[in-house]
């Protein structure tokens, strides 16, 4: 579940991208940290519930886009995730798609003369 600060449908297609982006930020991260970074990066507008995040992480791992390892060096046994080469590739492809999509929408809104209010 995600807060409704954004339309659900709008978010649906972009959660993978968000998680992959956070992981591309460097190093390995565990679920709690990923959740936190997505929240912070979105200025609190996207709050990924654990019930959405963990199944999503597991799916990305099944797809070979991220890989995981267990480690208790931080004092707690955690499952750490990092991007694989395939994940990096997917990220840049998706980033391109999103940029194109955003540009397209912006164009259409300009034609419709609709201005965002904030």
């Amino acid at each position: 579940m995600v807060t409704n600060k954004f339309e659900r449908d709008l978010l649906r297609g972009s959660l993978d991208l968000m998680v992959l982006s956070v992981l591309a930020g460097g190093g390995r991260k565990y679920g709690y940290l990923i959740q936190k970074e997505v929240r912070e990066a979105s200025g609190g507008r996207v709050d990924l519930a654990a019930g959405t995040l963990y199944p999503l992480l597991h799916r990305l791992e099944d797809d070979g886009l991220i890989k995981s390892s267990w480690d208790d060096s931080t004092g707690r046994e955690r499952k750490w995730y990092e991007l694989t080469a395939a994940g990096r590739k997917r990220l840049s492809a998706q980033a391109q798609e999103w940029a194109d999509y955003a540009a397209c929408i912006r164009q259409l809104l300009a034609i419709a003369k609709v201005q965002p209010t904030s």
Binding site: M1, R8, Y32, A49, A50, T52, Y54, E77
Partner: protein, 401 residues
């Protein structure tokens, strides 16, 4: 309340995960780390521990829903579309044969209020059964007893009753049956529009409210939630045995029948099923349409009993719950006190003593009760309250099916 709250949650989740042991442990371990991180953070912010534990769990959402996500994930991965038939489905087939509409979790999409942004849901929605027949693709059946206690968001606007049942089934991962004939005989139309909105409500409370307004009721049988008329519900008498030996300070004889009881809350776990999860103490009382339950009395008794150090006082003469058995004479009077306490507070007009249909009897600290689902729920809560006040674990309940 402590971290062991997490144990309960994770154990429940684990039980609902139809995956192999290793996968289940890995998921539980990962989620545990998350819960503990969250707890630490909340504690550091000065949130009281109880509140922090509660909040951490609440943010996680219900175990059944989460388990379903993981399970459907692994199903997709293996590209398997097996029809899972939990024990409960046998009951459903019987119900269907009896002309009862049954809805199964995960069998239809339904743009539900609580639809989350989870990307693993789509493949679950292949089958689209129209009304009764065919329990098609079943992801899993959550333990209804647990699901009923869970908080959820409800948003129904002019939704026909039968669709309400369908949606609740999908959203909560439980099987729901509509006793179509019984309801229609009682003049209740299955297309009656329902409008209800709650941001955060226990499913049990919601059902009491919604069905109460429609002059309907529900009961649980074989892990199927059945919507029916209050009369129909009340005509079902179920026998349960409450183990009150500890509460009554009796020694627990080894090798007694309860030792052999199988554990686990899922229906169909065998002849016996023991439920030993603690019941929340501040739950609002849920008297429903039949007026049999007496919530105010239960509510009023709670603070009183919690203020005393031993549960014995709650039942009359203040004997310590942990103490060894006293003379048989006092034991008898304790038992009588306890039974009187129960029959005075819970559904007082239904007991055989006053000409009602429900009976209660005791054998060596085991209290057997034949009554309705609702009354059993009240008794269990009441006994749990006494057990808690006496610093004992939740009461053990044996269900005789």
């Amino acid at each position: 309340m402590s971290d062991h709250e997490f144990d309960n949650y994770l154990a429940l989740l684990s039980r609902l995960l139809r995956l192999d042991r290793k996968q289940r442990d890995a998921i539980a371990g990962e989620l545990r780390a998350h819960l503990e991180d969250r707890l630490d953070e909340l504690l550091a912010r000065g949130v009281p521990r109880d509140e922090a534990v509660r909040q951490a769990l609440e943010e996680f959402g219900d175990a059944a829903g989460l388990a379903a996500e993981f399970v459907s994930l692994s199903g997709n991965k293996r590209k398997r579309w097996i029809m899972r038939l939990p024990t409960a489905s046998a009951a459903a087939i019987v119900l269907i044969a009896a002309g009862i509409f049954t809805f199964w979790p995960g069998t239809s999409a339904g743009p539900g209020a609580a639809t989350s942004v989870a990307q693993t849901q789509e493949p679950q929605t292949k089958a689209d059964p129209t009304d009764k027949e065919k329990p098609a693709e079943i992801k899993k059946a959550a333990a209804i007893k647990d699901v009923l206690e869970r908080r959820t968001a409800i948003e129904f606007s002019e939704v026909p009753l039968r669709d309400v049942a369908r949606r609740l089934s999908d959203q909560n991962g439980i099987a729901i049956a509509l006793d179509a004939k019984g309801l229609e005989d009682a003049g209740i139309n299955l297309d009656t529009p329902v409008t209800q909105t709650f941001r955060d409500v226990r499913l049990r409370t919601f059902l009491d409210l919604m069905l109460g307004q429609l002059e309907m009721a529900y009961y649980v049988t074989d892990n199927v939630l059945v919507f029916t008329t209050p009369e129909q519900r009340d005509s079902r008498r179920l026998v349960r045995v409450y183990d009150c030996r500890e509460l009554l300070g009796m020694d627990r004889p080894r090798g007694s029948v309860l030792r052999k009881v199988t554990r686990g809350g899922m229906a169909g776990g065998g002849f016996f099923a023991v439920q030993d999860e603690p019941v929340e103490k501040t739950r609002p009382a849920t008297g429903s349409g039949d007026g049999a339950a007496t919530p105010p009395a239960t509510g009023a008794a709670a603070p009183e009993a919690q203020n005393v150090p031993s549960g014995g006082q709650g039942i009359g003469n203040g004997r310590s719950g942990e103490g060894n058995a006293n003379a048989a004479g006092t034991e008898m009077s304790d038992v009588e006190n306890l039974i009187q306490f129960i029959t005075t507070i819970v559904a007082p007009e239904t007991w055989t003593e006053v000409g009602g249909p429900c009976s209660i009897a005791e054998y060596k600290g085991l209290i057997a009760v034949a009554s309705t689902e609702d009354v059993h729920g009240e008794i269990e809560r009441l006994l749990n309250m006494l057990h808690e006040a006496a610093n004992l674990k939740a009461v053990k309940v044996t269900v005789l099916e």
